[in-house]
Amino acid sequence: MMRQIPVLTAMSVRDIPRRLGNSLVIVVGIAGVVVVLIPVLAMYLGFRATLQGDGRPDRAIVLSRDATSEDGSSLSRDAVAEILHAAGLRRDARGNPLASAEVVLAAPVARLGDHSDVNVTLRGVGPEYFALRPELRLVAGRMLRTGTQELLVGAAAQSQFAGLQVGDRVRLPQGDWTVVGVFAGGNGARESELIADAQTLMSAFKMDTFNSLVVALDSPSAITTLRNAIVQDERLTVTVSSEPQYLATASDPVNHILRLVTYAIGSIMALGAVFAALNSMYSSVVKRATEMATVRAIGFSGAAIAVAVLIEALLLALIGAAIGVAISYGAFNGVTISTLGGAVYDSQLVYSLTIAPRLVLSAVALACLLGLAGGLLPAIRAARANIPTLLHEN
């Protein structure tokens, strides 16, 4: 039987041009699924990767107890001062903690692509912000000077929204704020944001509370020490979570929708593609019924015929997958988009679609599965063909 399969497969493949339209149905059907699924998956994965990209277990975020996200949280200056004395924080040589008390706002900007009104996160940060986040670096311009109305813009935000070049002025309360530099790095949500000095921002906006406090920990396990020190304190009413943990919960709502859409569309299309593949292979088998009966009559086994049919379905599915991957790679790889998902309720998250090898691999695996599912019943039918009847019929 092992010797029969290659012969039969070669015969099937050589025969494909004769029933090209039919065979193309599998190819087109599976290419269609792949073309739709790859960008949707890339969007979902890109969103998640970017949202959680900044998370480091040796950083923690402190919020007020009633809040689930930064913009719903409020920390008084007194509370921040007290938390900075707690145990478990990483301190420099002079004993100062590595921390940044932050405020988050959302400033209106225009998206470059479609000129629609969107919000970009405007984060007021402490002087230790870049020391706390060594993954970020200045790529153009200069650092903020405390006390002046200046902004730094994340590279991703700059690429998506209008009016954020170095030297541009952004209209905020108390006059114009000048963009003095661009920062990049970290593969995370930070690049989607504008940052300013927290104290300057708070005095301009007449705010007297922070939203959150980000601290560097002695080690990832020091979070327990910190938690014991501050969460137990009934006057503080705060919660503390490690950064990865916070980012995982914060991303949930939008992530949930993207995941639902991905799986819903994916499974419906996959089901359709199985029917298409079934249809195509079934028609092929019917068309080649005489031929199959003949090879059975001259001694080829039914099992070998079934395997050859399955291999043909698999090959066609792979060609479809390759076409689908090529189209979606050409159209979507490296495309940068922005959707809701920023740190503030309706601000934007900028991320890019990467058609990663892992994605291609899963698309190919899915295609194989669909091809096999579509080929199985026709293969069994081909193997079970009743030789005398078929030879007689035609």
Partner: protein
């Protein structure tokens, strides 16, 4: 009508192929119905938002709330019929976890229910009761269920911030409910008197986070929004005024260009489907070239043969598409909780069926015309 049996018999000559093709069509139209339903849902949310309702917000979100003095300025502007403040009251019922948080809009209830495009349904007596009961509240029915409250209950709520009397407990009389018929998902919020909140809070006294505005003339929405923002320009609290319609539109866009995305998926699905159906019909018609030759030899014209072929294509596509759309309509509510607006309406169904008819014609056009034009002798000579 007498051709129907003929068309039907043609369709079932290869039952497996016809069934599989029909199944593909069913599935494609489930997807099409759902995706178009999402589009229609967004369009309806946008259309529902009346133009005469504006919302005046702080220009930079997250900045401190606006002073109540802005209300007098708004009311004095010509073209504005009514305006009311809204402050956000967030508290916890029993335990301090986010699951037990209660959100109330602190506003002027008598005006508030006339000032939103959300189409909130409330009885005049409930509003009157709230106006006369300083610490009253009205909530949505889902919120009653969530906490197991009954109308008439006295409900203590806890805030993190301290009240003017030094405590953190707020006592409310639950006076009644209101419905949110236009909201696709269950709403959990309530309405309370602005004065009760404002007089007892220690922070942000005499401020509102936004103002609801109703215009006298809906056609002047854009101009009035600009006029309001100009009135507050260069003040300590610059505003951003948009109609509720614009807000809905912007939100739909920000979800990541939903329409473009769904259109792209629908395009890919339809292309694949057209190819599949076309192939199926081509085989079905070509295999029966001989039968068509016989029909012609007994007097059928080319046109009538063409008609038969198209009828067969329609009979394959339309019922399958209709079934798909019905399934989409049945399963749409499952996704509503997560996606929000999804409406498989009559219009979506009509567009879908038109699409199916187009698909049938497109798929059958080439093979049908070939069969119709084939000379009788050639057709009869076919296997």
């Amino acid at each position: 009508m007498k051709f129907l049996p003929l068309v039907w018999a043609g369709l079932w000559r290869r039952p497996v192929r016809s069934t599989l093709t029909a199944l593909c069509i069913v599935i494609a139209f489930v997807l099409l119905g759902l995706l178009e339903g999402v589009n229609a849902g967004f369009a309806r949310a946008i259309a529902n938002a009346h133009r005469e309702f504006l919302i005046t917000n702080t220009r930079v979100r997250g900045s401190p709330p606006m002073p109540m003095s802005a209300l007098a300025i708004l009311r004095s502007m010509r073209g504005i019929a009514e305006a009311a403040p809204r402050a956000y009251f967030v508290a916890n019922y029993r335990d301090p976890s986010p699951n037990s948080s209660v959100v109330l809009l602190a506003t002027y209830p008598d005006l508030f229910f006339h000032l939103t495009a959300a189409g909130l349904k409330v009885t005049p007596s409930a509003v009157a009761a709230l106006v006369h009961t300083r610490n009253g509240m009205l909530v949505t029915p889902p919120m009653l269920t969530q906490f197991g409250w009954k109308v008439g209950d006295t409900i203590p709520l806890q805030t993190t911030a301290v009240k003017t009397d030094g405590t953190t407990t707020w006592t409310f009389e639950l006076l009644g409910t209101f419905d949110t018929p236009n909201s696709p998902t269950p709403s959990y919020f309530g309405v309370m008197n602005y004065d009760y909140f404002n007089d007892s809070r220690t922070a942000d006294h005499d401020t509102a986070e936004l103002f609801y505005v109703r215009l006298k003339d809906p056609t002047r929405a854009t101009a009035m929004a600009a006029a309001i923002d100009t009135a507050f320009a260069n003040s300590s609290h610059e505003t951003r005024t948009r109609s509720q319609e614009q807000r809905a539109q912007a939100q739909a866009k920000q979800m990541g260009d939903v329409e473009l995305f769904t259109d792209a998926v629908i395009g890919a699905v339809l292309f694949t489907l057209a190819f599949l159906t076309g192939n199926s019909l081509r085989q079905a018609l070509e295999e029966r070239a001989r039968e068509f030759g016989i029909l012609k030899s007994v007097g059928y014209s080319d046109g009538r043969v063409l008609l038969l072929a198209f009828a067969e294509a329609l009979l394959l596509c339309l019922p399958a598409a209709a079934l798909g759309l019905i399934i989409a309509r049945l399963i749409a509510p499952l996704a509503r909780e997560d996606i929000g607006s999804i409406v498989v309406s009559g219009r979506v169904a009509a567009a879908g069926l038109l699409c199916a008819a187009g698909l049938a014609f497109l798929g059958a056009a080439l093979p049908a015309s070939r069969v119709a034009r084939m000379p009788i002798t050639a057709a009869l000579g076919r296997g």
